[in-house]
Amino acid sequence: MSNAVKDLLFKMADDALIIGHRNSEWTGIGPMLEEDLAFSSMAQDKIGHALALYTILHEVLGEAEPDKLGFMRSENDFKCCQLVEQPIGEYDFSIVRQFLFDHAELLRYEMLTQSSFQPLAQLAKKVKGEIKYHVMHADTFVKQLGKGTEESHARMQSALNNTWHLALGIFEKSEWEEELISAGVFAGEEELKRRWLEKITPIIEASGLQLPATDESKIVYGGRKGYHSEFLKPLLDEMCEVVRTDIDAEW
């Protein structure tokens, strides 16, 4: 059982850490001040959530200390989906990624408030209130830009098309899926995906955008099993550069 729970926590924590790092790359270069602040604040939130999840892994499940989990593992030990690793690109890509990811994350935490694994259920109750703001932020811009000018609409639709099969990779199943479901830890990726589609479809339509068609063969899987795009390694090298020069240094 503990391997199943660890896998779930690692993929959530790694998603949060990596997208948090990507969010921080908007600091100083956001298209307007409010968006600079929004992405910087979300970076702080997400990295805080990652820390809380690594702390449960350390204190409850006997894994290494949070800093070591965040900064000293190799690329193949990371269980994040490939969506979160992608470079920030243009603002249209970043906001669409945030929209697709944040809705999935909020729904995941909402489901986890019912988890039989208490430390996670307690954290989920707290974190979902914070992610609610991330979702409201993404919804606002998807609606405004989807229905904005001809150019903003075209860019949003194209970003959505390009991001769709990466986003579906969020729901890649692990080998512990059945175990998590039957133990009441988590209701499973399939159920999460169902709720996610139900949630985002009307928002996409209300934004004047079209839900891209799903081609099962194009869904980007692998991240949850440690196989990553070419973008994760350089991100880790940069993120961990300072701490890896002396992991035991006192800050």
């Binding site: 929004a38 430390p119 707290k126 209130g129 932020h137």
Partner: protein
């Protein structure tokens, strides 16, 4: 109200009565010292005002344990407040001080007292509207009046501000931007 849980043991019998009395006095010292620990991002508000203290346990050998609730999980001021609490309680005469983050109790903006909300407004930060069990929505966020002129003709500019707990708003009446402490469940 915050000392209520320490009154109960006083009702016990003689021998224990003395111990409880001492513990009760010590706990009052702790709560008073905690009033000196301010939120570094809002220096007029203490961790007690914020409802961030979920428990105080007086132990043996002049030790004390304080349970602290993070307002936001990723709050960068948390470590500073932990150190500040330790410092204040060592200064108040405790020999051993532990500050533990409490993940079992959930902080919500409803834990702020009405007095705290008045202090926030005077500081220039619109206080969070009460949530109770309502699901957070833009409608709730908009139940806000401008801390400068009191007008409710205000709009949300961004749900993210200069710190994790703030949103940016604009007042149409006095034509000024202002910050709001976000309601959080």
């Amino acid at each position: 109200m915050k000392c209520a849980k320490w009154f109960a043991p006083i009702l016990m019998l003689n021998g224990k009565h003395m111990i409880s009395e001492v513990k009760n006095q010590k706990s009052e010292i702790v709560w008073a010292s905690l009033e000196n620990v301010k939120d570094p991002e809002i220096p007029v508000i203490s961790v007690v005002d914020m409802g961030m203290i979920s428990g105080v346990e007086i132990g043996d050998n002049n030790s004390v344990t304080v349970k602290l609730l993070p307002t936001f999980v990723g709050c960068p001021a948390l470590d500073m407040m932990k150190q500040d609490i330790r410092g204040q309680l060592l200064k108040a005469g405790f020999a051993e001080v532990s500050v533990n983050i409490d993940y079992e109790t959930r902080w919500s903006s409803d834990r702020m007292t009405p007095e705290t909300k008045i202090k926030l407004e005077k500081f220039g930060l619109a206080p969070p509207p009460e949530l109770k069990d309502e699901e957070l929505s833009e409608e709730i966020l908009n139940r806000v009046r401008c801390p400068h002129c009191g007008s409710t003709d205000t709009t949300l500019r961004s749900s993210f501000g200069s710190t994790l707990c703030r949103a940016i708003r604009f007042c149409f009446n006095c034509k000024q931007g202002f910050e709001q402490f976000k309601p959080v469940q």
